[in-house]
């Protein structure tokens, strides 16, 4: 063993010393540095999270680095196979030691070459995020980059021993890797195992520990496999005078290879099992969305009581339902999160028989109690389970990206948030009449919409006496509370300056005030500050105008950046600041419109959209044209109303410019790409918006806003044809919707 170890160490040392003296090696270090440099957008660098910086550099280095490692490794690993090294092979030495030493030596050299770029990334991590950024960088690089590069070394060794020629080896591997990357071939679909690792930071989620560990172990096993396979091939056809592999070694190697392959297969299988478990949609089959009738109309009363224990990450709930059955057998669909389990069902009268069959609650009612009021209490407990596809973009489909967040809540030791429509209660599509939530934990950094709060040092109780609004409660010890103008804001710590936060958040309270003024005639204004909280996992905002509480959907600080090339042009429509406010107004208008229940078809602008920075307001072809049919009229109304709602933020010049742009876009489709405005690519919407603009000029703001309120009251999120809308406008404003030629 000493001999093997000594050989390995000597070979490693020799390899490192030889390589670092070569110019090509340091050229590779420069290339690594350049790749790391260009992997990051420098304009956005100060605003990127620690993980984002480490991840983007690791991915760039992994992609191009694997090509370099192959070239570099092929030459270094096969150097002694050249004819001028016959003297070396004239005497026997430890083959194991040599193989391992060569590979480790190559890895050590690659590590040395990554130092310059690693130091540069580390510098930015420390500047932006402090010393903890270094730890994040180390973890992300170990998870993402090191496995890929060591795998490249192992495969290069293996293929190199087959060809025994550095040029051939490098050429074949470069072609294979180049083809995979260029053709964007996802070979992971073939085996169901990702080549790249993943990081999903969200509240306290962090990386999925178990899956990442399995993934890393798989890479380790494959690297060993490559080493062993190379060694076996090497010994099977030895160079010159070293001894051939004996029978015992052959069998040992074969057994080892078989063992490693089996281990790899087991790891991949376990990975797939665990990943499938995580991907399971907590929504069960037979739910209300699959065409079943909503039971809400049959419920005379629906009350909820929830008790949340933050420290133990546990919740217990009781859903009390009053109904008047009209038949002896009554069935309700139940949709409860898979992390929550019904522990008890109590009925009054007690002789009612209940049964849970799949997702249906079946009540068998004695004849005497038909047409009489009966009560049902479902007690449940557990924790809200959130499948990975709901929070990790890597696993969710475009449709899932836009679907509402079904669990409607999240709970861990430091954070809890709840929205009304979520499967944390058995009938998520029914609004409860009364809600009572008790939380064991401190009430610091809390935003809620309850009518009453009773708090003590270690617990607090919230009561909603009437129909609770969509946003309910958000509490997070991770988050940061601050005051921005007349709003209290609770946001994730994103290492932004106060000025940057103001830029991002200032439009919201202004718009909330405008909504209060123009759209909520009979609702009294909220007392005190507006409250805004950024809630992760939500796809759509939830707004309670009565209490002035806004739950903002998840966003990153880059959402408000428009692409740099875009802002280089002149005019209000190319102003980063004004465009951002315009889009915020669009979002707020739609959030208000859908404040009673989520309406994804309207809260996504249309079936096609544009990006501003990383803000994706719509996903191409994800909703489908058919699903969006008939909503163009509402789209136009909402978009124009949003423009007027945000008039104090964008200015009259912007409004005039937008209308002019929409008029131009009717004549020339190329204008669609010129402007980053909502729905500018839809001729129908543009036409309607121009007509609404004329209407505004004719009737003024008062009748216009009255028309908007009435449209919301009568139509909600239902489709309305242009003709029907035109008649409605005449009825509410007294003025016909003008034609474009007027």
């Amino acid at each position: 063993m000493d001999r093997h170890l000594r050989t390995a160490m000597v070979v490693t040392q020799y390899e490192w010393k030889l390589q670092v003296r070569q110019r090509a090696t340091w050229m590779m270090a420069c290339l690594f540095f350049l790749i790391g440099w260009f992997s990051v957008d420098h304009a956005q660098l100060p605003m990127l999270s620690a993980i984002a910086i480490a991840e983007s550099t690791a991915q760039g280095l992994g992609v191009f680095g694997s090509l370099f490692v192959v070239i570099f490794g092929a030459t270094g690993l096969l150097r002694e196979f050249g004819s001028t090294y016959d003297l070396l092979w004239g005497r026997s030495f430890s083959m194991w030691g040599y193989t391992i030493g060569k590979c480790i030596g190559t890895c050590v050299v690659i590590g040395t070459l990554l130092l310059p770029v690693g130091l540069w990334v580390g510098y930015w991590e420390v500047i932006s995020h402090g010393v903890q950024g270094l730890a994040v960088q180390a973890v992300v690089w170990i998870v993402l980059l090191i496995p890929v590069l060591t795998l490249a070394v192992a495969v290069t060794w293996w293929i190199g021993v087959v060809f025994r020629h550095s040029v051939w080896t490098a050429l074949v591997l470069v072609l294979v890797i180049g083809a995979i990357l260029a053709l964007q071939m996802d070979i992971t679909h073939i085996v169901g195992f990702p080549i790249g690792a993943y990081v999903s930071p969200l509240i306290d989620f962090g990386p999925d520990t178990r899956l990442v560990k399995l993934h890393q172990n798989a890479f380790l096993v494959v690297s060993f496999l490559g080493l062993l396979a190379g060694y076996v091939l090497f010994r099977a056809k030895p160079l010159r005078l070293e001894p051939r592999i004996d029978l015992v070694s052959q069998w040992t190697s074969a057994l080892l290879l078989f063992g490693l392959l089996t281990l790899l297969g087991l790891i991949v299988r376990q990975f797939r099992i665990e990943r499938n478990l995580l991907l399971q949609d907590p929504r069960r089959t037979g739910s209300i969305d699959q065409g079943m009738e909503s039971p809400c109309a049959t419920l005379r009363s629906y009350r909820l009581a929830l008790s949340i224990d933050l420290d133990n990450v546990h919740m217990e709930g009781a859903a009390e339902v009053l109904l008047k059955p009209t038949a002896r057998v009554v069935q309700f669909p139940i949709e409860l999160n898979q992390g929550l389990h019904i522990s008890k069902i109590a009925t009054n009268p007690s002789n009612l028989k209940t049964e849970l069959v799949d997702n249906q609650l079946v009540l068998k009612i004695p004849q005497d109690f038909v047409q009489r009021e009966v009560a049902l209490v479902l007690e449940y407990a557990g924790n809200i389970r959130i499948s990975r596809r709901l929070y990790d973009r890597q696993f969710r489909s475009p449709v899932e990206s836009l679907a509402p967040f079904w669990p409607g809540g999240y709970l861990d030791r430091k954070t809890v948030f709840l929205v009304r429509d979520g499967n944390w209660h058995p009938f998520p599509w029914c609004a409860p009449n009364r809600l009572f939530v008790e939380v064991e934990g401190s009430s610091g950094n809390l935003i809620h919409t309850a009518g009453k709060i009773e708090s003590s040092p270690d617990r607090f109780k919230l009561t909603w006496f009437q129909n609770p609004p969509l946003p309910l409660i958000a509490l997070s010890r991770n988050y940061r509370m601050m005051n921005i103008d007349n709003a209290k804001v609770l946001v994730a710590p994103m290492h932004l300056s106060t000025r940057q936060w103001k830029e991002i958040l200032t439009p919201y309270p202004v718009l909330m005030k405008s909504i209060q003024e123009y759209l909520l005639e009979e609702t009294p204004p909220p007392q005190g500050h507006y409250k805004i909280v950024q809630v992760p996992l939500l796809k759509y905002g939830r707004y309670d105008p009565g209490l002035g509480v806004l739950f903002l959907k998840e966003f990153s600080p880059l959402d408000f950046l428009v692409p740099r090339h875009y802002v280089s042009s002149a005019g209000p429509l190319h102003s980063q600041e004004l465009l951002y406010r315009r889009w915020v107004a669009e979002r707020m208008m739609r959030t208000w419109w859908c404040r009673e229940s989520i309406c994804p078809k309207l809260q996504v602008t249309s079936s096609r959209g544009y990006e501003i920075g990383h803000l994706l307001l719509a996903q191409p072809q994800s909703l489908g044209e058919a699903e969006h049919a008939g909503l163009e009229t509402l789209d136009a109304l909402l978009s124009y109303a949003a423009l007027r709602l945000g008039a104090s933020l964008v200015g009259d010049e912007f409004i005039t410019a937008e209308m002019s742009a929409r008029n131009d876009a009717l004549q020339d489709e190329m204008m669609w790409t010129e402007f980053l405005l909502p729905l500018i690519y839809s001729p129908e919407t543009n036409r309607l918006m121009l007509r609404l603009h004329k209407l505004w000029e004719m009737v003024g703001p008062g009748p216009f806003w009255h028309m908007v309120r009435e449209t919301h009251r009568i139509y909600g999120d239902q489709p309305v044809s242009a003709k029907e809308f035109s008649d409605f406008v005449k009825k509410t404003t007294g003025q016909a919707l003008p034609l474009l030629n007027d």
């Binding site: 110019r23 090509a24 050229m27 290339l31 370099f68």
Partner: protein, 227 residues
């Protein structure tokens, strides 16, 4: 006695790039697998042919042509050949031999494609290959001669090739459309017009000429044995 150029070129080919003796025929035979493609869409077929011509073959040539002089330098046997011939002439001769061989193999393959796969101009495709391969080879050779290491040339050549393949739009915005390597392949893939292909290929040839000139100057400075 008049020199037998064919014999000389063959010798240079065998000595300087022995890997090419296997690699080029292998790539040619491998390229015949494209004939198994059954789809009938002409633009897809053209894209695949462009892939072979602009992407695969030039990479192969890059790898065999990079070490035409430097392999012997690294083995310390350069002094023997330098006695008989100027290094720059030797290098050019070897480069010519490799390219003649590559053009011959690729020409055969393209003729087979023309007869059995797709109708196109073989001359155009050969010019496309020649421009790309010469540009890649000249750049990597220059870097190799500058650093006196073959690996350095491999790295830079592969980087340019890989980046052009994986991120064509970034490369075009960085270096302009005329210095983008894979003009045919990219334009066919994006369904763009191919009206500037000649300008693109001549730009690459122009760049290659400049780099070859620089390489020659570097080689001349290392001449020792030729009077």
């Amino acid at each position: 006695m008049r020199p037998n150029w064919f014999k000389q070129l063959w010798q240079e080919f065998k000595v300087a790039a022995p890997a090419a003796m296997w690699l080029l025929p292998l790539l040619t035979v491998g390229g015949l697998l494209l004939l198994l493609d059954t789809q009938t869409d002409e633009s897809s077929r053209f894209e695949y042919v462009a892939m072979i011509v602009e992407i695969v073959f030039p990479l192969g040539v890059l790898y065999v042509a990079n070490g035409l002089i430097l392999r012997e330098r690294e083995k310390k046997t350069l002094a023997f050949v330098a006695v008989r011939s100027s290094l720059s002439i030797l290098w050019l001769r070897r480069l010519t031999a490799v390219f003649v061989g590559a053009l011959f193999c690729l020409g055969l393959l393209l003729l087979v494609y023309r007869w059995f796969y797709l109708s196109f101009s073989v001359t155009k495709m050969l010019l496309a290959f020649f421009a790309v391969a010469l540009a890649l080879t000249s750049l990597s050779s220059m870097i190799s001669l500058l650093t006196k290491e073959m690996n350095a040339g491999f790295l830079i050549g592969t980087l340019w090739w890989a980046f052009s393949l994986m991120n064509p739009k970034a490369m075009i915005s960085l270096f302009g459309p005329y210095l983008y390597l894979f003009y045919f392949w990219f334009n066919i893939r994006e369904s763009l017009v191919l009206d500037r292909w000649l300008a693109s290929k001549f730009s690459l040839l122009g760049m290659a000429t400049v780099l070859i000139f620089v390489s020659i100057q570097m080689l001349r400075s290392t001449e020792r044995f030729v009077a």
